[in-house]
Amino acid sequence: MEIFVQQLINGLTLGSIYGLIAIGYTMVFGIIGMVNFAHGDVFMLSAFIALIFFLILTTWLGISSVALALFFVLIIAMVLTSLWGWAIERVAYRPLRGSFRLAPLISAIGVSIFLSNFVQVAQGARNKPTPPMIRDVIVLFQGESGYNVAISYKQIIIMVMTAVLLSIFWYIVQKTSLGRAQRACEQDRKMAALLGINVDRTISLTFVIGAALAAVAGTMYLLYYGVVSFADGFVPGVKAFTAAVLGGIGSLPGAVLGGLIIGLIETFWSAYFSIEYKDVAAFSILAIVLIFMPSGILGRPEVEKV
């Protein structure tokens, strides 16, 4: 029972991170129908940006309050990663609209290879550990066998941040003119353009928002695990994509729901079955979902237009 509750907490934390990445996949897919394969590597890049600015703030500028440093790191990482997201869309995806159908995916794979190797060449291939930033935990209750169920401040920060950002983001999509433009482009890009919506700008902003949320996920990932390497984008990226598909690609609540489910499955699988096969479980879910329920839990069934 204690283990179950503990794994539930861990799973929800991990799921929040996946959910944040999954939003980037789901939005881009919703609006231009492409799988942004490079999104996992954008996430990895943002973790590196966060790491570097954390080091700058703490060691060079001498900010001793970890909370303050984290706040600034989060803002800077979001801004710089958004710039990357914008630039990637501008250089690698925008010229391909109207090209053959696999072109954007191949280009995205190219960007993905580029990003991970760019970071490898620029920062070295070794894992980058950070000193543990926040160590305190709250013991929720004590089991009979002496097993403490605890939630750490880190986990609280991650879950609260996810919830807050999602609400802000939900507000943007539902209530602002940008969100309306986005939903219009999602439904019919040509018609939206005819009605005076700047489609290119809307798509760019979609990438920017996706990258900013990936930066939040990257910072949280660094905070949670305390280590990052250039190869860390691939597996979380695929898992987040699985989450997006599971929740119903194109659906925002679906992405978060899918992220939480994938996070829970992964932690429970590791705890109760085998830790070696946890990635096999994630990849199998991806294959099974795509084959048997490609519209996901909350998605609309896809209609094939001739």
């Binding site: 080091l55 290879i113 990003l115 190797n117 760019f118 096969y277 096999v280 990849f283």
Partner: protein
């Protein structure tokens, strides 16, 4: 990319004929500024590790150099587009109809002589190297490189059946390579079967896995199919790592039996290759034999592909790639068509894998990660999906290029002693894939030989077909 169109006078006037320097400078400056912004965290600081602590060192110089390069490139792009639009604005009579009736291009003129030439070089390669290097042992490095390149040529041609002809993006091709390699490794170490029995078995097993994996996924749309094949590729690799009882896990399988010359082993003693043919024993005999083996396997792949293109199934692949819905309405069984492409592509992957195992004498799951799939895909994409000669050229350039660069000593003088082009190989692959999709979505060689000819042979411009194949 664009539909064929004939230049109208209105368009001619709209095209700018002058090079607007101030606008170009402004734009290049903007691009440079963005590059600088992008390079702030990752390029201008480097995290160094000493003990358990990380510390930073700054290197703004590098960031500034990259920014300057982007600025220069952007200016060049502007100059190029300006000159091109000038040329377009003053069309020659030939150009106006170019898209409709493509003249046989320079490539097609050259290809008549180039293909036999390349083939001759490939066959004579060990002898040429022997003459140049002046000894068998000295030429080892170059023949090893030749084997490596030909392995990738073969893998590229195998994947070309799936991606280039059938238009199915397979991101897990390396899984079949792994199946082939492990088939040979396990069959030969457990049952003591020889390479010549295992080679067809490996191909059959890989094709079988191709069908098992292919069957459920082939009704998915293009990009979902790609992701599922990626997932399968990773699952096979993870199973190879974790199923320690059978595969010996991450440690891999070592001491795999070497290839024999149709039963005659390459050993120094009694009954060995050297003694049987009255030669002086040299370890290089085996390497040269491996070179010809992979050359033969690669040529077999090419031959089968070229013949299949002329068969109904090959024509159905290409039709499927161009328009799946039209195919279905014409009564082609799309699932079976896709499945054959998948299985045949996988079979050649299996052959290549079993060659890999016999050459290395050692297999481990690390040789079969996603990056390997991506490299093979990059070769196919950059060579031109569907073009056999393009894939071969891309494999030579992408695999052989970094090795050649590594031996150029003046590069070390420019970039410093520790310069190793192999570090930048994947970086260039990534940029190359994007650049190819943006500028030449049909690859280096975009011309395609039509597989059926009515009365006379005509050149077909890539612009006339959806995905660039005649």
């Amino acid at each position: 990319m664009n539909a064929p169109s004939i230049t109208t006078p209105a368009q001619t006037q709209a095209a700018t004929t002058t090079f607007d320097l101030s606008a170009a400078l402004k734009d290049a400056f903007k691009a440079a500024l963005i590059t600088f912004g992008l390079s702030i965290p990752i390029l201008s600081f480097r995290t160094e590790q000493s003990g358990a602590d990380l510390f930073l060192s700054s290197r703004w110089g590098l960031a500034l150099i990259v920014t300057a390069i982007v600025f220069g490139l952007r200016l060049l792009v502007h100059a190029y587009t300006a000159s091109r639009s000038y040329r377009k604005a003053t069309p020659s009579p030939k150009q106006a109809t170019e898209l409709v009736h493509a003249q046989p291009s320079a490539f097609q003129h050259v290809s008549k002589f180039a293909i036999p030439f390349f083939l001759g070089v490939a066959i004579a390669f060990p002898f040429l190297i022997y003459l140049v290097q002046g000894g068998l042992n000295e030429s080892r490095y170059w023949i090893d490189l030749g084997i490596l390149i030909l392995t990738y040529v073969m893998l590229g041609w195998g994947l070309n059946i799936v991606v280039g002809l059938a238009g199915l993006l397979d991101l897990g091709y390396v899984a079949f390579y792994a199946v082939g390699a492990y088939s040979y490794a396990l069959l030969s170490t457990t049952f003591g079967l020889s390479f010549w029995i295992c080679l067809p078995l490996a191909g059959i097993l890989a094709a079988f896995w191709g069908m098992i994996l292919g069957f459920p996924v082939l009704r998915l749309r293009g990009d979902y199919l790609a992701i599922v094949t990626l997932a399968f590729g990773e699952i096979i690799r993870l199973v190879l790592i974790n199923w320690v009882d059978v595969t010996n896990g991450a440690a891999g399988i070592s001491s795999i039996p070497r290839a024999t010359f149709f039963g005659i082993p390459f050993t120094a003693g009694e009954g060995g290759f050297a003694q049987t043919f009255g030669l002086e024993f040299n370890g290089m005999h085996r390497i040269i034999f491996l070179y010809y083996l992979i050359l033969a396997l690669a040529l077999l792949t090419n031959f089968v592909t070229m013949r299949l293109r002329k068969l109904p199934v090959g024509r159905a692949w290409e039709a499927l790639r161009e328009d799946e819905i039209a195919c279905r309405s014409l009564g082609i069984n799309t699932t079976n068509t896709k499945l054959t492409a998948f299985a045949i592509g996988a079979m050649f992957g299996g052959f290549a894998g079993s060659f890999f195992a016999v050459r290395q004498g050692f297999v481990s799951p690390e040789s079969f990660n996603f990056l390997e799939s991506a490299i093979i895909l990059a070769i196919v994409v950059m060579g031109g999906m569907g073009s056999q000669i393009g894939v071969a050229i891309a494999a030579i350039v992408l695999v052989g290029g970094p090795e050649v660069l590594r031996n150029l000593t003046f590069l070390k003088a420019v970039f410093g002693e520790g310069f190793d082009p192999n570090e930048y190989r994947l970086l260039i692959f990534g940029v190359g894939m994007v650049a190819m999709m943006v500028w030449r979505p049909r690859g280096l060689i975009s011309e395609r030989e039509p597989s059926v000819i009515l009365k006379e042979r005509k050149a077909i411009s890539g612009s006339l077909v959806k995905e660039g194949h005649g």
